[in-house]
Symmetry: C2
Subunit: 199 residues, 2 copies
């Protein structure tokens, strides 16, 4: 299979590339490095990437940023920043990518535990993750040609605990390698509309 | 209690006003009628409403529009239209309303069954509902002074079946009066961060 991984240079993206690269032809994309460049905030950039890439069997997203701030300090610009990046960025990937995905191929998006288990200063992250997961359930029943879509929701990654531990006290971290397995489950399995919770 | 109901003239809003009006002082708000006027798409309009209203014990939202269209026909403008109205509109209500809600008071927002059970042409609705429900869980742990926040997720309303039946085949409708009870559970109970599913 030809597998596109957006965010291939991040902690999770590298683990997904290692997991799937053992069996498949992996193409890595990111904003400023990797095999191809893409900025998910820019629809034209996403379309250009797919035109250059040709047909793929699987599209994986391991990228998406959201701002963190106390609820009382959040304004509309902060919500829109997160929505434009991690929600609409992933939706752009699905919209522009669908014509380039082979019959029965798949999209696998990314959210995180904050959809269900909130932390202080994480309201934008929760909001955006909740949107992505519901989008995946809805898109799953409308994608053409047997194309599937799932989303992986990991808890905090072990590799990120040096930076995030104060925000995730009491959360049991998982390794990026373990979270990466769920992407293989989505790509190489046959399910659709699923949220794979890695926690 | 003084209870603000935004969307008081809709099918659900009227039922909520009937349920809570029996025991409380209900103030109805809507875009073009009711006791006060408000447009949730406009932050200044929401702030003006609260300044005129003074302190309240409960804020209820029974309003929020999203566009319906096949997945393949959705563009970024359509997603933003739904996000600006039903998601950011309700977030504006919480942000601007918090200083005006008494200690231990409550917000009760609205989503719908499409968060979990998608229908054809409902991807924006699902996406927006998922965002609102996750926002509510996150905001619940950060609101000050014991202020609570919950969300009511009804299935299709019996009163709306004349228009929506073709989209909701096999969905068992509930009456607006039954959905309205969940708003009373939120306002008069003590729970927070809950999604009350009326289906």
């Amino acid at each position: 299979m030809k597998v596109l991984i957006v965010g291939a240079n991040g902690t999770l993206g590298k683990a997904v590339a290692a997991e799937l690269g053992a069996r498949h032809n992996v193409v890595g994309a990111s904003r400023s490095s990797g095999d191809v460049h893409v900025d998910l905030r820019d629809a034209a950039s996403v379309e250009t990437m797919f035109r250059e890439l040709g047909q793929v069997d699987a599209v994986i997203c391991a990228a998406g940023k959201v701002p963190f701030a106390p609820l009382a300090e959040l304004n509309e610009a902060k919500y829109l920043e997160g929505l434009q990046d991690k929600l609409l960025g992933q939706i752009r990937l699905v919209s522009a990518g669908t014509p380039h995905v082979r019959d029965g191929g798949s999209f696998t998006l990314i959210t995180g535990i904050l959809t269900e288990q909130p932390i202080l200063s994480g309201a934008v992250a929760s909001t955006v993750n909740g949107a992505v997961e519901a989008f995946v359930r809805a898109a799953a029943i409308e994608l053409p040609r047997g194309i599937r879509i799932n989303v992986v929701s990991p808890t905090v990654l072990t590799e990120a605990m040096h930076a995030y531990a104060p925000y995730f006290r009491g959360f049991e971290p998982v390794s990026a390698a373990r979270a990466a397995m769920a992407f293989a489950r989505s790509v190489e399995g046959r399910q659709t509309g699923q949220v794979y919770k890695i926690w």
